[in-house]
Symmetry: C2
Subunit: 402 residues, 2 copies
């Protein structure tokens, strides 16, 4: 993989870039729709391309359990299996092992867990995580980490970090395929000394890209951005930086200003299925009675397929009738919103007006905030607010069980 920085923003740490992978290019900053079980729920690859997706993410944990990585390999790899001939990233599986299983046993060797599908026992080791991801063949693969819970004491975060560093080295050592880019994951909890140590050790090992892990797990938005601010500048300039599981459009804009290049989050897709739609002027809960006779589109300024052809009244009807098409049309809209949002960030950067663009967004957010006082987070369900316990990271990051 080759990462090319086209432009450095003059007023922030933001970067405009291009990633060249074995399956084509994606532009950064990039948002990756989540396709947990080898499908972005309800959409075809053609739908995804039409709304501007250049790279998507799929979950190793789910695919390992069903249909199995060896089967996917026999069937020609994950790209071919799911008919997505473009850049693809798989996670290591570790995050879901922790978040979807109440009883896990962590050791130096790896994580022992039971399948949420049939109760079968498995060990996910660094070597296994690489074996699975090499069998599936995504363009970018992730090393196995332990997502440090929040809150964690300095001692706990340090022990967790050491385990992640050990696993990271073993991931690097066990990989065989040269056509995949392996990313390391920075941990260290909310402690700047540990984050710094993490970056140093990972840089020494050398990865094609670096992810910021252990965020969006219950800490405040300010704390999350503070960690990003401190950590991003320590990372090698010429490698992509990926903030895992983040987040709201607000979070993404703020992280871009701090030098982040890649994002993934289930918010747009999951919220779509729950009838929560993103618009420039705030969120819209489609089941509300006020939309029963509303002939306008979700967002009059939006050019997505859903907004071009369907009224709020129709979408409300589909949602209340529990029609499958509701999920599909809502998902198209929400992902189009996210991908347009990140595309506008790139455009603003190219035209040297990123800060102004963000300021305008803020003004819209704030005026909306006044109108929707009951909705403090106007883009909704920043799941970080529901503080999860240990081994139960943010639902906005964890993929659903199904």
């Amino acid at each position: 993989m080759q990462f090319e920085i086209i432009k450095k923003d003059s007023t922030s740490d933001a970067r405009l870039g291009r990633c060249h992978t074995s399956h084509g290019i994606f532009h950064t900053p990039a948002f990756m729709p989540v396709g947990t079980q080898a499908t972005v729920k309800s959409l075809t690859p053609e739908d995804l391309r039409e709304i501007g997706a250049e790279i998507i993410l799929s979950n190793t944990y789910h695919l390992f359990l069903r249909p199995g990585h060896e089967r996917i390999q026999r069937l020609g790899g994950l790209h071919r299996f799911m008919h997505w001939d473009h850049p693809l990233l798989t996670d290591s599986g570790g995050f879901q092992v922790f978040s979807l299983n109440s009883l896990v046993k962590i050791s130096e060797e790896g994580v022992q867990f039971q399948s949420h599908i049939d109760g079968s026992r498995h060990l996910l080791s660094p070597e296994k995580a690489i074996e699975i991801q090499e069998a599936m063949g995504a363009d970018i693969i992730m090393s196995l980490d332990e997502c440090t819970p929040y809150p964690a004491s300095h001692g706990e975060a340090e022990r967790s970090l050491e385990l992640t560093l050990n696993w990271s080295r073993r991931c690097k050592d066990s990989r065989r395929r040269e056509d995949q880019a392996l990313f390391g994951i920075v941990q260290g909890g909310m402690y700047s000394d540990l984050r710094k140590r993490s970056v140093g050790a990972l840089r020494e090992m050398g990865f094609a890209g670096y992810a910021l892990g252990g965020l969006s797990v219950g800490e405040s938005k300010e704390m999350m951005l503070e960690v990003v601010s401190q950590t991003a500048p320590l990372l090698p300039w010429d490698r992509p930086r990926y903030l895992m599981g983040v987040g709201t459009p607000f979070d993404m804009a703020q992280a871009v200003l701090r030098g982040v290049d890649m994002f993934d989050c289930v918010l747009p897709t999951r919220n779509a299925r729950n009838g929560m739609l993103f618009t420039r002027s705030g969120r819209l809960v489609i089941k509300n009675a006020r939309y029963a006779d509303d002939d306008s589109s979700i967002d009059p300024g939006c050019s997505c397929y859903t907004c071009r052809h369907y009224s709020r009244a129709y979408l409300r009807h589909l949602y209340l009738a529990e029609e499958i098409l509701a999920m599909r049309l809502n998902t198209i809209h929400n992902l189009h919103f996210y991908l347009t949002f990140i595309g506008e960030i790139r455009q603003a950067m190219a035209e040297e007006r990123l800060k102004d663009w963000v300021k305008t967004c803020y003004a819209q957010w704030n005026s909306e905030e006044e109108n929707n006082a009951e909705q403090p987070d106007r883009w909704g369900s920043s799941s970080r607010k529901k503080t999860p316990g240990k081994r139960n990271p943010s639902p906005a990051r964890s993929a659903s069980m199904k």
Copy 2:
């Protein structure tokens, strides 16, 4: 509406035709996908056009209860509401009133029933059925009938027929819109004298088209075809004939030979959602373990989107993982199968080889029958086999509650 017969088959009663409606043409024999709640489950209108749908059906009962016909009218009518700018047929609502409600009260005035959604009480009269359908604005609307249960004594069938004839007349008298074609419905149970009387009375009233009702409700396939054979020739030559709720591809081919022009059935769409796929060489139950590693398409001879891009192994994975995309890809395939099937019937008729074409199909059916002795009805779930009681017509016809 103008119905144009292009060709009369020389070896059977089959006809090749074209129906001109306010929203364009559809060719006959025609199969109409069922879009119960103003959506053919999981598909967009663009999907439907791509797989060859020219006319679809929507259910008055469901739309009357939710979102309401007056709302649909305010929003510009059903075509606009659901973004389907092509021929559209609505049924009268009577069939679902009977099949989805255990307690209905029938009188000369109409049918009293309780909503399956909120328990509210309603009266569906002939005048109301027309009012609702005129508000929604489909191109073809149906008069209110009582679907005579099976079995029924001659006396019961006669009383039921008289009620239907009375209602048919009131439907005709109460209609106001001239841009919609109103079809009458032939009843009379399995009694040829009553069917004959029914046709005579309806012809006297004069309808734009004639439907054969009260079939596919528990009687044998032979009995159903016998009624069609006796009744179709009595109908006016120059009006389309619609066999309601039928059926399997076998049923459709047989009915075409007997002079039927239009069909609707939930089999292809409902079976798709249950993982039962139609192929030329028999049905395929996608969840079967034999497909776990099967890299071939559902039907190697099929050109649908699903077969062009996805393996049986992937479709099995999606189905087992309960992914929404499974329903969509399966529905595309099954509807494509039905629409291709009926399209080939038209083509064979145009080329004067209809009987040969049907014979070839039979040969395929029979060889398949030998291979699948445990599946006597190789295209599956001919629901007529589960004999329904009174007021509980065939599930293959009734739309689902949701």
